[in-house]
Symmetry: C2
């Protein structure tokens, strides 16, 4: 069975290559001709449109920047829905608003087309290594059917629930990550202003209840002034925007997420939106007129 792959960006391109390496037959589509040519030289076929691609494939993976791109690629003119036969399965691996995952899935259902939402976390290096974490929402039997295929691109593939649940989990993840980075930033900036060495404070608290994956990944970046992404502020803004929309749609209060959005808008105003999200600390540093650099 041929796999269609739409969206050959920083993440999609290595993911598609891993499917090829594993022996899958691939048909790809992207507006970026160079990316398409790269995949074709690796053994993929190409299609002129999403409609053309979907007419040849039993399953179509989309890996696109955000909700509107997915909606356009799947439901828009010359899109997947126009070419797909009933029984086709769309697996959207983009990180989008779960409200939109469900809305798009409902439109596809009318055409007899199934959908999984399967956003990933892990970034470009894990996309290349095939060690992404995939969170999947949709029918359990479809999850089971495509588990092995998804595992080609992943270190873990976890079933979370109905369609949209994958993106709910992804947004829950992004909420916690953003807030945890701010917590570390707030604590280390305070430590510096209070006359201590933030490096020693970090070492003193990292082994206890305050310890986190974020702390061990991001505190050293803050202390060593390394803000190379990693995961860019501008992408985290996109995710928090989806989180706020999704939370507001279900009347769930997300005051800390709202605050982090405003902090990130401040960082964008200062031109830090292409930096790693560890630069959240710069928001604190600017107000406190200091940096968390260790004492000499």
């Amino acid at each position: 069975m041929k796999i269609g792959f739409i969206g050959l960006g920083i993440m999609g391109r290595p993911m598609a290559k891993n499917l090829l390496k594993a022996g899958h037959e691939l048909v790809v589509f992207d507006f970026n001709k160079e990316a398409v040519a790269d995949l074709v030289s690796n053994g993929a076929a190409s299609a002129e449109t999403g409609k053309d691609l979907a007419s040849q494939c039993g399953v179509v993976i989309t890996m696109l920047p955000n909700s509107p791109h997915v909606r356009a690629a799947v439901l828009g003119g010359n899109g997947v829905a126009e070419g797909a036969k009933p029984g086709t399965v769309v697996i959207d691996m983009s990180s989008i608003d779960p409200t939109e995952s469900r809305a798009i899935g409902a439109e596809l259902e009318k055409l007899g087309i199934d959908m999984l939402d399967a956003p990933v976390s892990g970034g470009e290096p894990k996309a290349i290594d095939g060690t992404l974490s995939v969170m999947v929402g949709g029918k359990k039997e479809l999850f089971d059917k495509y588990y092995d295929m998804l595992m080609v691109m992943a270190g873990s593939v976890v079933y979370v629930g109905e369609l949209g649940a994958g993106n709910v989990a992804k947004l829950a993840n992004q909420i916690v990550v953003a807030v945890n980075i701010a917590a570390v930033s707030e604590a280390l900036t305070f430590a510096k202003k209070a006359g201590t060495d933030p490096e020693l404070v970090y070492q003193a608290i990292r082994g206890g209840l305050a310890g986190s994956t974020v702390m061990d990944a991001k505190a050293p970046m803050m202390l060593n002034r390394n803000f190379k992404p990693g995961f860019r502020i501008e992408l985290h803004i996109k995710d928090l925007n989806n989180a706020l929309n999704a939370a507001h749609n279900v009347s769930s209060p997300v005051p800390l997420t709202g605050q982090l959005m405003e902090i990130m808008q401040g960082l964008k105003a200062d031109g830090f939106d292409k930096e790693d999200h560890s630069s959240i600390v710069k928001y604190y540093e600017k107000i406190a007129n200091t940096t968390v650099e260790p004492q000499k």
Copy 2:
């Protein structure tokens, strides 16, 4: 050399007992006669006042609820400063405002008395087991001198810097813990309202960048509706009050800490202040009119 020990509460009593077990000669003082009698039956001597105690001891440990208690016990009438000879060392193991640690230390310095601040984290079970984490501020040579004695009560004793640095680290710890609990609460409440099973979302994200010691310690408590302390909201309110005071004293912005204080005040209004701080989730649940209980 005799050790004076002032403050035989939930934490202080087992800490003092561990010093006795290790063979140290102890003189204790507390307003609670039963606690004093308990220590005396374990081999300690008792004193009538802090002054009386300090006159007999080369080092005086204080383990008291908050800054005013430490100030009164050390600098107040019949307190440690009135009885202590020059060269005595006060080791304050209470969790207090570091601004006060430094102020009290400055008063003692005029009398030729040294001071370390050495707050602990870990709670009653670790006080009993002698596996507390101790964060120490003050002169490095005093830290070195009393390291072995402190290790009798601890699993780790870490030097953080000048006097007050121990409490700065402790407050940094409490800031991160409170904010991380709120992050997990916000994410899981959103997950539930968005129609997913919070248990599955927790399992999906705990292994990635969102993972934390707080998440693995507190998410199961929230999901299983177990809010038995652990660490009570009312004590975390005390710590955040010290954190806000200390941060304001050095003009360091702590917006998330401020928000957590208000969340905890809401929980106190609802009578949850004797519960574990994992009940932060109840603030979200009340507004969202749900609970994060797993789907059946």
